[in-house]
């Protein structure tokens, strides 16, 4: 088996034989879903990226905010 085959086998076999790791991966997946599919999507928009189309507009918005 070549290097890449051995590396793939390491991961596949490792994931297949996990015990404690199953619960941990479940926590990681739940966490990532909550973070990205709920929090990021609904509650944490990138204000400047979503409200302005170009970097020049974003710079202008920040300049206005800092001058006020």
């Amino acid at each position: 088996m070549n290097f890449f085959g051995k590396a793939l086998d390491l991961y596949v076999d490792g994931f297949r034989n996990m015990k404690l790791g199953r619960s941990l991966w479940l926590i990681i997946i739940i966490k990532l879903v909550i973070f990205f599919a709920v929090l990021k999507l609904f509650f944490f928009p990138d204000i400047l990226a979503s409200n302005y189309n170009t970097d020049a507009e974003r710079a202008s918005a920040v300049r206005s905010a800092l001058i006020e």
Partner: protein, 520 residues
């Protein structure tokens, strides 16, 4: 105005909650990775299978902590974009470059070598497995390096130039940013404090095993390693902590004055050991403490290695007052002067904006020159009065002294545990020692969190030292939405923390009923 204060306060509370939650996991990952690597090295050198069993036991606890902590820092980046958009834009690539490097290093090093650590037993050679374990430890430290470099830049902004056209700070010297003395000290202080925390964690878990009279041999061996790593971490944390204090005196003297509750500076300033601040200490600047036990001239000596050196207090810094080695009182820029210069920079920025709209190149050049000259004081232009540049003194003062006092207590615990480990009598079997060991776990996390409170509350009102105060960094958003997400985070983080602690306790309890030293 009240709405702005509410948004700023809720956003700060949210950021503090997220950062403190994130920092529950990070130091244990930093330190436990080293302890696991040391145990595996002993296994590699001796070939004794009991060390393989011990390595696997602590590696599993490392894995639980790693899994629960991973990605919790991402929330901070979400908050930058939503709550702190002015700040995020203003810092430009200074923050982006270190964080990008962190992402790449963390992903490739940790994803590769953590997998070999957990999946590679009996699949790769002993030497390669050991190398992977050490590289994981190195990888987690390198991840911490870049985020700490970014944080250090906020405390001591160097290696950049402000470009009013882009409204961003543009990095001009990567090495000045990455190798600033504040960044180097902060990195080592954080990493070594992680060693201390993990050492105490191992001592605590081992003490519980000894208390329950389970896996005595494993517990004794682990406790000894935990105590050595913890002690090494503690000594190095003390050393780098001193270095940090010296840097703070140089680049953030107001933070140092707040840490010591020093309103009126003096030649030969005392170091406070134990003290209670008066309720309104600013009203009695010559005597701000209800009571205190001081080390005479200790502060001057610690910071300047000269017991007769002048240490400025809060009022001296506001007035720009200092005392020379010859005893002459001299005045530099007061905070009122800096506010005037900061306002000049803000006005010049407004002129720049108008000139840009009018496409008046001469006016643009003139405004750019004015901005550049006064940019070091740009943030002072947002203050209403000089006293606004004083951080919350009581929080900074107590957090600092709690950190030092608890750190001292933990130092004694580490020495006691080492003594008990090598003592020929049966000290290690005493219940009181086990209770101290278990209780120390709580103390070390208090100490670790207190350190960050000093660093972050002590630098207020600045989000970027002297350049941007917190209230200028905030986005134009409603406080209601920030309040809602604050409580949402509180619920999610509490649930995740309960999940981690319960998985960890269940694992320790189950493993304690088996032979930990037996290779599984």
């Amino acid at each position: 105005m009240n709405e702005l204060i509410e948004v700023v306060d809720w956003s700060r509370a949210q950021f503090a909650l997220t950062a403190m939650y994130h920092w529950l996991f990070v130091p244990l990952t930093l330190g436990l990775s080293v302890i696991v690597a040391i145990m595996e090295t002993i296994y590699y050198r001796t070939g004794n299978e009991r060390w393989k069993g011990l390595t696997k036991f602590w590696m599993s606890l490392f894995g639980i902590n790693f899994a629960c902590g991973v990605a919790t820092g991402l929330i901070l980046e979400f908050e930058f974009g939503t709550n702190w958009s002015n700040y995020s834009w203003f810092v430009g690539d200074i923050f982006g470059a270190p964080l990008a490097i962190e992402g790449i290093v963390a992903f490739f090093m940790e994803a590769t070598f953590v997998a070999v650590m957990f999946f590679g037993w009996n699949k790769v050679s002993k030497g390669f497995h050991l190398a992977s374990t050490w590289l994981t430890a190195l990888g987690v430290s390198l991840s911490a390096l870049w985020i700490l470099v970014a944080n250090a830049w906020m405390q001591y902004p160097v290696g950049m130039e402000f470009d009013p056209a882009q409204m961003r700070n543009v990095m001009t010297d990567f090495f000045a940013v990455a190798l600033s003395p504040v960044a180097i000290n902060k990195f080592f202080h954080a990493v070594f404090s992680g060693w201390t925390l993990a050492g105490i964690f191992v001592i605590g878990v081992s003490s519980w095993l000894l208390w329950r009279k389970r896996n005595i041999s494993a517990a004794k061996s682990s406790l000894k390693i935990g105590a050595w790593v913890g002690l090494a971490g503690m000594l190095l944390t003390l050393f780098t902590g001193h270095g940090s204090a010296v840097e703070v005196s140089r680049v953030q003297p107001m933070k140092l004055a707040a840490m010591e509750g020093l309103y009126q500076g003096s030649v030969g300033a005392d170091l406070i050991g134990v003290a209670v601040l008066k309720s309104n200490p600013e009203q009695t600047p010559d005597d701000p403490m209800l009571f205190s036990i001081d080390i005479p001239k200790g502060l001057s000596y610690l910071i300047y290695a000269d017991g007769e050196h002048f240490v400025p207090g809060i009022n001296d810094l506001i007035a720009g007052r200092s005392i020379t080695a010859e005893g002459d009182t001299v005045y530099g820029l007061s905070y009122a002067d800096k506010m005037a210069l900061g306002r000049k920079a803000r006005t010049a920025l407004a002129d720049y904006s108008k000139a840009l709209e009018a496409n008046d190149s001469n006016a643009i050049i003139a405004a750019e020159k004015e901005i550049k000259e006064n940019f070091p004081y740009f943030g002072y232009g947002y203050l209403e009065k000089p006293e606004d540049a004083v951080p919350p003194v009581a929080t900074t003062f107590y957090a600092f002294h709690i950190m030092v006092a608890v750190g001292g207590l933990l130092f004694a615990v580490l020495l006691l545990m080492l003594f008990a480990s090598y003592c020929k009598t049966n000290v290690l079997e005493k219940s009181w020692l086990h209770i101290i060991g278990i209780f120390s776990i709580v103390l070390v996390w208090i100490c670790s969190q207190a350190g960050w409170i000093v660093a972050e509350v002590g630098r207020q009102p600045w989000v970027i030292q002297d350049l941007m105060p917190t209230n200028a960094a905030i986005s134009s958003i409603q406080s209601d939405s920030v309040q809602f997400t604050f409580w949402l985070f509180a619920v999610i983080f509490t649930a995740l923390l309960i999940a981690e602690v319960s998985i960890m306790l269940r694992y320790i309890s189950n493993a304690s009923k088996t032979d930990i030293e037996k290779t599984r």
